[in-house]
Symmetry: C2
Subunit: 221 residues, 2 copies
DNA sequence: GCCATTCTTACGGTTTCCCGTAAAGCAATA
DNA sequence: TATTGCTTTACGGGAAACCGTAAGAATGGC
């Protein structure tokens, strides 16, 4: 089992509960922090002291407060940590459900487990820790079907730009000007219209308002 | 201090942490459930057994799963509970930040405390429990400025209906038919257009897409 | 009952958006 | 260079949304 565990989680109540779960594994010395930057510092220090952590449990979204942070959230934290301590096992404990985001965590960020904050998340967390200890990866059961569901439209950064502009009140006829100003191609009005039509079609939507609602729901914009 | 406490919270990890906080007050027999319907049942039973609860700690949003529920969420639970047990103190523990929603909880639903899930929520929760025990109300510090801010526009249920329809892909020209079918007045297309124009104007928006994005952000739809 | 006020609806003109088609641009290949 | 295939743009007709105005219905006070 793990010897040194670090918890990066801004919600005190959740942090407490994670520590309690670790205690069930006999891990009573888990360290914790409410800030990403501090988490990175502690990991840096642990390497320097030659007593490296062997498990990081982190949330994805950290709320801003008076303390200015370099790292915006869990994803950035994981990226930074992987640079200095690639062997460290990472378990993400978050409410995020967007399959694209979770998929990228495993693929791009090379995390070892993802546990979704949900009804039986404490049991789930326990299971995930057991899996990681055996050098296996873990993904909450409830998400496995979602992650498979490849039919969800893959929004390119171009798509996200378009929908963001709409959600900010830019009129379609004014979008070409914006795109040219930002050197984004294609910039023709027809291309914009066509791209929006493709998005609507593939999601079987009738109106752009639906696209905006959908992207808000899934945190795409 | 409280003798019988019920926790309605669908996230196991959060529920565990709330129980731990209660233990700090010497409350070791707190009951808990992951479902709204079950919470109502337990309160009903406690009245029947003449051993009523004196504190309910509840979340607002409960995720759906295989178990079909009558009560959609915390608000509905509180409404139902107040019917059968008006003296029961209610503490809401949620991540919701929309001032309009929280305001209505205190005013319409007559709750006694609102604790926001955030960085120091465990301490916050402790403070709230102390306040309620002294028959005072409590609101997380971080929300007090927000709640004052009488946010820009008061969305009526009519407004919410319109924006929901748009976000679901209903075309404006088809909205009058829907409104008539559901006996919602006014139902004229002009009234719909006018109402949308008023919303856009008062929020200084140019497009309906912005309304949808705004309402999604603030959990209005 | 009558009038005044407000709310609701109907209607037309204008703008914006939608969508199909065709032309223009561009890159790779022979 | 010419050909081919793909992407991007231009254009135009038609649908939807927007907006002002005015007629009609409902409400409340006198």
């Amino acid at each position: 089992m793990f010897k040194r565990v670090l918890i990066a989680e801004d919600h005190e109540s959740t942090s407490i509960s994670v520590r309690k779960t670790l205690e069930d594994f006999g891990i009573t010395n888990a360290e914790f922090t409410y800030y990403c930057d501090e988490a990175l510092m502690q990991i840096r220090k642990s390497l320097h002291d030659d007593q490296p952590f062997d498990l990081l449990i982190t949330d994805l979204s950290f709320e801003e407060d008076h303390r200015k942070q370099q790292l915006a959230g869990g994803v950035e934290l994981i990226e930074a940590v992987k640079q200095i301590h690639p062997q460290l096992k990472v378990l993400v404990f978050s409410a995020e459900t967007n399959p694209a985001v979770i998929d990228s965590l495993f693929k791009a960020s090379q995390i070892n487990a993802y546990v979704r904050k949900a009804r039986h998340d404490a049991k789930d967390l326990r299971k995930a820790i057991e899996y990681i200890a055996q050098h296996k990866t873990y993904l909450s059961e409830s998400l496995k079907p979602a992650i498979k569901q490849k039919n969800a439209f893959e929004f390119s950064s171009y798509d996200v730009t378009l929908i963001s502009l709409l959600s900010q009140g830019t009129m379609q006829k004014d979008i070409p000007a914006y795109l040219q100003q930002h050197n984004i191609k294609p910039s023709g009005l027809s291309s914009v219209e066509k791209r929006l039509a493709i998005m609507r079609d593939s999601l079987e939507f009738a109106k752009n308002e639906q696209l905006v609602a959908y992207c808000k729901d899934y945190g795409i914009i």
